[in-house]
Structure formats: C-alpha cells, structure tokens
Symmetry: C2
Subunit: 402 residues, 2 copies
C-alpha cells in the first residue's frame, strides 16, 4: 500500500470513529456503539470506502491488547474481596448461564457444531466493565452498594471470560476439544496469571530505576508498550490469546494490585499515575481502530435477511444474553430495586464480546451470518441497558436510598 | 504476517532502539546514533533478526511525519527575526555550499547522473535542530549569543532543506528536471506554507471547542494525529513529500507561531501545552521506529569494501559536509571562538539527512553503496560535533564570556 493511501485510510478511520462516537454520546449511547457503526458505514456494508488491510488489522490488534492492558490497569482486586459473595454469585451465574444456554440453543436448536456452539456461548459471557463503569459514573452511583457489587462482578466476569477465550482459542487452533487439552491450557493460564504479574512487577521496578537516570526522552511509553507486546507474545507462545498478556501486564502495573508475598515491590502511587498519564493518549489513539475494524469486517450485504434464520437466531440469543445476566441478582438478599439495577448493569457485552466474535471470524469458526448475528446481539445488549438503567434510576432511585 | 510475529518484531525494534540509545548517551553521543545502530545490528548487515515488512515501514512513516510535526511545533519564528542577519548568513551558506559542492563532486568526479548528484548534495544540506539544541542545552549554552545564532540558522536551514526535498521529490517521481516543473512545485509549496498553517489554526480552534464539550476521552491525541495525517496526505496530493505536511501542521500549532493577520486566532498557551503533553508519548513511541528502519534498510554486507569507491566517496563527502557548514560562521563579525562553536554546532545532519537518504533509496535513485555512504556520512557528522563542541567549550569557553 502506498504511504499516502495508508495515511488517508487511517485518517478516515480515526475521524469517523470520533465523529460517530461523539454523536452516540449526544444520544446518551456508549461511544463504542458509535465506533462500531463508523466501521459498518465505511466498510463493505455501506460505502466501501476503507479496506481493512493487513496493516490496519495489525494496528487494530495493538488496539485490543492496549485496551485489555487498560482494563487490567483499572482492575481492583480488593473490590472483589470487599463485595465478596454477592459479586461472585452475580459473576459466576452471569458467566455460566449465557454460556450454557447459548451453547444449548446453538447446538440443539440451530444444529451448529460443538466448537461453533461453544464460541457462541462464550461470546455471550463477558460483561463490558468499561460501559458499566461509565453508566454508573454518569448516574453518580459507582460508589453505591449496588454499584460495588456490579463492579466486583464485572471484574471476575472479565477474568472468567478471558480464561474461556484462551480455552476456546486452543480448541480452535490446536488439538481439538479434549479434557487433557483443556487441563493443559488451564495449567498454562494459571501459571501465566501467577508468574506474569510478578515478572511484570519486577520489570516495572527496572523501568522505574531507568526512568530516573535516562537522558533519552520517551522511556515510559516505549518501555510500557514493549512490556505489553512482550506479554502478548508470551501469552501466544503459551497457547493463550495475545490479549491475555495485555490484561496480565495491566493487572501487574495497576495501582491497586498487590503481591501478597512481595511486599518490597509494593506499588508506587506516583509512578503508576505517570504510567497512566503517558499511556492514555496511546491507548486512546489505538483502541478506536479496533472497533472500527470490527465494523469493517462485517458485510451486512452478504446476509440473507429474508431467510428468517438471522432474525430468529439473533432474537433468541438476545433473550439469553439478557436473561442469563438477570437470574443471578435475583438470588441475592437485596432490595428488589437493587436487583434490577445490578442485572441491567451486567447486560452490556461490549469489547470482550467483540473480541470473541472477531476471533471466531478470523479462525473461520463463524461464517458471515453467525458473525453478523453476534455483532448485532452485542450491539443491542450494549445499546439498551444504559438507557434502561438511567430510566430506572430516575423512576425508582428513591427506593434504593431509603 | 501473523499477529504474534508482528508483536515480536515491534517489541525487538522498540527495545533495541531504547537499549542502544541509552548506551549512546552514556558515551555522550546523540540517541539517534544508537537507534540507527540498533537497526544495523538487527537488520541484514548483522543479525538478520527483524524483517522491515510493509507494516513496519508504514509505522516508520508515521514516525517521520510525527517527528517533523514535533520539529514544527518547536520552531520559533521569532527566533529568526531576533538573530536576523547572522542566522541567515549561516543558514544560507550552510545550505548552498554542501548542496553545490556535493553535487559537483558526485557529478564531475564520481560520474553520477544529474538527479543522483542533486540528491547527494541535498542530503548534505540540513542541520539537525534536535541534536544541535540538545548539545547546547547540555552545555547550558542555548541562550548564549552564539547559541541563538545557531538556533535561528538551524530553523531556516530546515525549512530550506524541506523545500529542496519537495523539489527533488517532484523531479524524481514526476516530470523530470525542468524550470517549469520547479516553478510549479515552489508555487505549490509557497501556497501550502501560507494556507496550511491558517487552515490548521482554524481546525485547532475547532478541536479546542470540541475538547471542552466532548464526553469521549482521547479527543486530543486522535484529532491531532488525524490533523497531521491529513496535512501529510494533502502535501502528497500537492506534489510535495508527506513530511512537509507534518512540519506545516506542527508549525501552525506551535506556541510561538503567530498569524499576523489573524489576531483573533492567537494561540492559547495552555491549550498548546496540553497538545504537547498528550502528543509527546505518541511521538516518542513512533520516531525510534523510523531510525531503526533506516538501519534495517541498510545492508553493509552487500558493499564491496575492497573497491576503494566507498572509502573515497564517503571521506570526500564528509569533508564537504564539514567544510560547507564552517565557511558561513567565519564570514560573521564574531569572536573567533564563537565562529568555531557556531560552525561545529551546524554540522550534525541527523534526521532530515536520513529522510533524504531514505527517500533516495525508496525512489531507486540511490543504490545500496551510495545509500550506505550517505548514512555513514550522516552518522559521522552526527557523532563527531557533539564531542568536539563539548571539548571546545571546556577548553575555550572562557574566551566567549569575556
């Protein structure tokens, strides 16, 4: 590709992502919906203006691992400990139900293969922390009792989702579906999750030392991006998807992450803050490229909208996606209003769901119709809850404070 | 390319650039020399560890335009007005002499074609502001009388270099060498340099308005990078090299740039500062990729080191590169010691020289031997002056203050 053409493509992607995200937020919708829509408009579905070339794809891949890095960086392990049982109930039920129900539906009713059905179930599992945090913050409810349960559950949910992704990834690329294979992957992941944060923490101490003596500017952005790339590569080499590495690196550098047995390496608030400050512009530059890329990969024209399959399939998956997250909260000892809020807040799927769907497409597991259905379901579950929660708080918010 | 391979390549590039740059500065050498060396070590000349793929090349291209954006952002037009005549004498002589002498040498003594000879002369013209500023700042001399002359001259020199680059670019890609063609390019560039900053300033006012109301984070990095990409693409469409657009965008957003007839758009110190803060991590992430890429493109093994050509050619060009910059200062009414410092400070070629050489290589104008010679000359002129200036200040610094 010629340089100027690449510049033009990248320019159009960044501008369209920004424009559609701004419009989305004006309508009180999540920005990610706008970015997805930008990709659909620019791609083969509508204008066919931008081609998702190899380079654009690789930039999008950097976007995902940096996004997962940021999610890891914002993950508060203590949160889980504080909200404890309630979060675990919400997270585990909200993970298992969509997985099992989605799998059952796809396998038995829609006659899909075992692997496709597992991927469909997997795509429905993970709640989007980003969108959930955003909606709660908009309503100034992120520190409320129900807000704390939701945040704790969303963290655990994400970890479960990423582990499942690693498992399905191994099944799809490697040795097929077997208990032995699954055990191997889980062992690797466990080792990775224990060792990676320790290694990353040691490396960050090294970076900090260098930072105080280096005379070449830009140490933090280059070394942190290198660290993220390294862990992404390492994750791949250990049989897990690259983004798991991004997540582990973020977790290790997060301000709220403590290694119980490595007290001497306790985190330095100022340094963590500087990392966040310098990484933010880079993360914000790359992540929209991923969501636009998802939209670009989708060809709505290829879908047989008259066949009924896509409608029936999308609608039934959507029902599972909503129901699967609402059951858990109603098992809690909480006020009825709080249960509703927690359930609604867990529904948005957003980025991790899209990453699942994208992996399914790239591995050739999802055909265009199933991929389109998954993206539609994710978009709908991301669109509707923010509006519902806002409406609910305005109508029943008083019940929660009394 | 597989994602994990790309991650690994990028990781190695970033880490090696950082490592070699840190080592270089320990020996009081410019960081850019370290980054260049990193590329030579990783590339076909030595280890053959990293392949300069299409995607790496495009990331390097983003690196150059962002670097030129930063140079533009740091350009102080008032500086030129203050130091006036002296800077103009130093800049113009230091631009014309290397160009004419380099051209003459290549054309008459080494029997190169007209275009190759012009490119060789052009590569020798531009002083590296970055390295010069750095050395003066290290000696705490950037605000001295001789320091001011050097900075003013380096700014003008860069503008002349970039214009010449645009001219040679048109000759090499388009209609060949003709007065008509040159006139057309100069007209375009003049129009671009007048209109682009005005347009960029208007756009920056727009961005600022948006910035105060936007709810989607990351407006500044995405919109400034978009702006730079847009001007790079526009420059190309107007027949100039892409990096001219990066330079113009930086110039327009610089804190010290004023449009005489657009007082209402006067720059906002706080906003310019925020742009710099948010752009720095991104610029620092991308620029080393360019210098490593230059090293990767160089194959020292292909060169016939026994032929004598490369030795004779490099050494005579080096003499011209040094002499060409030393004549101007000795035409000034200054103390002899000041003349020496000014001359030495103008010698480092660094980034603009490398951009010239790279363009020559990509357009097929420079063969591997000439390209290698140019890179060697640039590396040597960049290596030697910082050491010489420091030695000179320690030995004769007292003469300058009296």
């Amino acid at each position: 590709m010629e340089t100027h053409q690449f510049f033009l493509s990248l320019l159009i992607i960044l501008l369209a992502a920004r424009l559609f995200a701004e419009i989305a937020t004006r309508f009180e919708l999540p920005a990610v919906i706008g970015e997805l829509l930008a990709g659909i408009v620019l791609g083969p579905s509508l204008l066919n203006l931008v081609e998702p070339t190899e380079t654009i794809r690789l930039l999008a891949e950097i976007g995902i691992i940096l996004l997962l890095f940021e999610v890891g960086l914002g993950t508060d392990i203590k949160q889980l400990v504080r909200t404890g049982g309630s979060s675990v109930v919400v997270a585990v039920s909200g993970f298992l139900l969509p997985l099992v129900l989605g799998y059952t539906l796809a396998f038995y009713l829609f006659d899909q293969s075992l692997l496709i059905s597992l991927f469909i179930g997997g795509t429905l599992t993970a709640t989007s922390i980003g969108i959930t945090v955003r909606v709660l913050a908009d309503m100034k409810r992120q520190h409320s009792a129900e807000g704390q349960v939701v945040l704790g559950a969303a963290v655990l949910d994400d970890v479960l989702g990423v582990v499942l992704l690693a498992l399905l990834y191994e099944f799809s690329t490697g040795g097929g579906i077997s208990v032995l294979n699954a055990g191997k992957v889980l062992l690797f992941i466990a080792a990775f999750f224990v060792l990676a944060p320790i290694a990353a923490r040691f490396i960050s101490v090294l970076i900090k030392r260098f930072d105080s003596v280096s005379e070449v500017p830009g140490l933090l952005p280059t070394s942190i991006v290198s660290l993220v790339l390294f862990f992404a590569w390492l994750a791949y080499e250990m049989g897990a998807p690259e983004l798991l590495g991004g997540f582990a690196a973020g977790l290790a550098l997060s301000r709220r992450f403590f290694l119980p047995f490595a007290i001497s390496l306790h985190s330095d608030e100022g340094f963590s803050h500087r990392i966040e400050e310098q990484m933010k512009p880079i993360v914000h530059l790359f992540t929209p490229i991923f969501f636009v890329y998802v939209g670009l990969s989708l060809n709505l024209r290829d879908i047989d909208w008259g066949s009924g399959f896509i409608w029936l399939f999308s609608l039934s998956l959507m029902a599972i996606a909503i129901l699967g997250k609402m059951v858990g909260p109603f098992m809690l000892r909480q006020k009825s209003a709080a249960r509703w809020v927690i359930g609604l807040a867990m529904i948005p799927r957003g980025e991790v769901g899209l990453i699942f769907a994208e992996l399914g497409r790239v591995s050739g597991i999802f055909n265009n119709e199933i991929y389109a259905s998954m993206v539609i379901v994710i978009a709908m579950t991301t669109l509707f809850p923010p509006l519902a929660i806002k409406w609910f708080y305005r109508r029943f918010g008083a019940l929660l404070d009394s």
